[in-house]
Point group: C2
Chain length 371, copies 2
């Protein structure tokens, strides 16, 4: 039996207690300074206020001031706080534990790294530790409420302690693939929220009557999103294949069809200015990670392009999302202008892509109505 401490008592932190408890481990759910009301509710036997589900009776709960007790003797640390909160939480945590403790993060996002540029969360957290902390990342399509309900869920664990963590967490309904590609899984987890907004934009255009059905476009943009993610993964030292599997394409689907990022995109696509949508959702405590993810994702890509590690021409979709969400660009015209032809990634052996390509003849071609 292991002692598992989960940092962050929101949706995912609470949900991850299920497989660990059912494997007979001791599970401690610690809430941040924002989570005390959640912990209070669970302590008196109520449903978890966000998940609207009862927690398992064996779950131990710790309030924000009880961090030291929650960490005492822990064998595995799982981080499920927000990307905005991770640095502050980990500063406290790292003063209280052995930095060699197996550490897995379900937190997703990008933060300015040690060099001041947008970077993977692991770089920030490992820099905080100064010593030997090894960050691990949990990726893949995993809505918290479905995990609690034992809907078959397939995730990816990457990092030095991934196998140890998977041994504690795996369950018949919680399928864990081990990946050696930590950068890839982190980048996928961070960027999928940004691209999920794109799918919502088409839903919004449909709602507003600007297009009828647009399944063709949604599928084409989904495919383009995965390719753009793959190119960032590659530029960040990861394996582009990761973007085409559960951690990338798989997670993008669940986010694009069901979630707050899709809703955000839908409201923007239907005509509400993005900053108003963000304010509206924030006021209702509906955090949309995609809104900052578009900004941080574009900052990362711009930085990498400046260093010659990728080509901005390959990022027409992310560029369009940034223009729509932060620069007031019109949704339909901006999306409809994007070249959706697929450009295959170079293989790991550096061979040239095997696709022939049509030259850029559109410009000289007679104008077609986009009606």
């Amino acid at each position: 039996m292991a002692v598992v401490t989960i940092l962050g008592a929101g949706y995912m932190g609470a949900a991850l207690s299920f497989p660990a408890l059912e494997n007979d481990h001791e599970v401690r759910l610690w809430g941040t300074w924002l989570d005390d009301p959640l912990i209070d509710a669970v302590r008196i036997g109520h449903e978890h206020p966000r998940l609207e589900m009862a927690m398992l009776p064996a779950l131990q709960t710790y309030k924000h001031k009880e961090l030291a007790q929650a960490l005492d003797g822990a064998d595995l640390l799982i981080c499920a706080v927000t990307s905005e909160g991770i640095a502050r939480v980990m500063q406290s945590v790292l003063m209280l534990i052995d930095h060699e403790i197996p550490f897995m993060s379900a937190t997703k996002g990008l933060l300015p790294g040690p060099n001041g540029h947008m970077d993977r969360l692991s770089r920030t957290v490992e820099a905080l530790a100064l010593t030997s902390l090894h960050y691990g990342q949990i990726g893949g399509p995993s809505k918290a409420v479905e995990l609690c309900r034992r809907i078959p869920t397939a995730v990816v664990y990457a990092g030095a302690h991934a196998a140890f963590a998977a041994d504690i967490m795996h369950a018949p309904y919680y399928h864990i693939t081990l990946s050696e590609d930590l950068p890839g899984v982190e980048v996928c987890a961070a960027l999928k929220n940004a691209f999920a907004i794109g799918s919502g934009l088409f839903d919004g255009l449909e709602k507003a009557g600007a297009v009828t059905e647009s399944y063709n476009a949604k599928s084409a943009f989904f495919s383009k999103a995965v390719h753009e993610i793959a190119r960032v993964v590659e530029a960040m030292g990861g394996q582009p294949e990761t973007a085409f599997g559960l951690a990338g394409a798989g997670d993008l689907i669940v986010t694009a069809v069901a979630g707050r990022n899709r809703t955000f995109g839908e409201m923007v696509g239907a005509g509400t200015p993005p900053d108003e949508v963000a304010a509206y959702m924030a006021a209702r405590n509906l955090l949309t990670e995609g809104y900052p993810a578009v900004r941080t994702g574009w900052a990362l890509v711009s930085h990498l392009a400046g260093e010659g590690r990728l080509d901005l021409e390959d990022f027409a979709f992310l560029r369009a999302l940034y223009a729509i969400v932060y620069e007031g660009a019109p949704v339909k015209e901006t999306l409809f202008a994007i070249d959706l032809r697929e450009r295959r990634l170079k293989g790991a052996d550096g061979r040239v892509p095997r696709w022939a390509e049509i030259g850029d003849r559109e410009a000289s071609h007679h104008d077609h109505s986009l009606g």
Copy 2:
């Protein structure tokens, strides 16, 4: 200006006339013996009865007996008949034309090939020609009605004459990627219909109350479907990367979220026996290509496994679909029993997968309720 003859006047045949006509080519739409009512309607200026859209005035129409006239002087042949009809149509066509004519097929499926085993359509058609016919395949996410409405659509053209055809067909809303992987595009086009049923099965389980939401599972199974398709592509001499792009994952999405194969799966998932669903839909002229595709796909995979070209263990999803659709296996229990961990394909350089994997410990692990 080129002369484009489209074989088959159903949804896709009629839709493909739009970009060709808008590029000022002469476009001839020929209907099979089943399509004469469609041609009649279009000729008197009515909407196309299936698409429920008006065709462009410049479209020329040919009834089933007018095949010779439709083919006379054609520069490009586009085949959009059903996979059941393609052999019969092409036998007639090949008696009337120069076999070197550029030929592209939007028809998708598998047929017994020259060796008697399930094979790609191109193998059947090229064997019929005896001489130099070069088959080309159109793949990618493309619902016909959206193409007519100029919704951005991204497709893949593969085959010897793909570039010639793309030059005639491309439009600002019809983005054509050229692929050199004909086997890959064909296999993807044939198998996506089978796997689209799988997504529908979960919709049916939800409808019947057997599960609540199941986005996690749908995403995980989507990812598994793409990997299974990639393995067939590889075994058939194609490039597995094709399965991860527009022709595979992209086309699978549009089919899985919107289409008759999804509907078929939904009815089965909700509890109606598969043969009854097939009969119900056939009676309403709602052809579901996924129903035979599960059978032909499983036959192909079984044949390839028998030849040692792939490992049946990698095909748990397709096997489950076959068991559910043709052997009466229970939907939920069969799907929930599948191992959803990702097994990475070997690279083109034959290197071993870089994923570590958890050993098979489930069997010895204590039993968890699948609740």
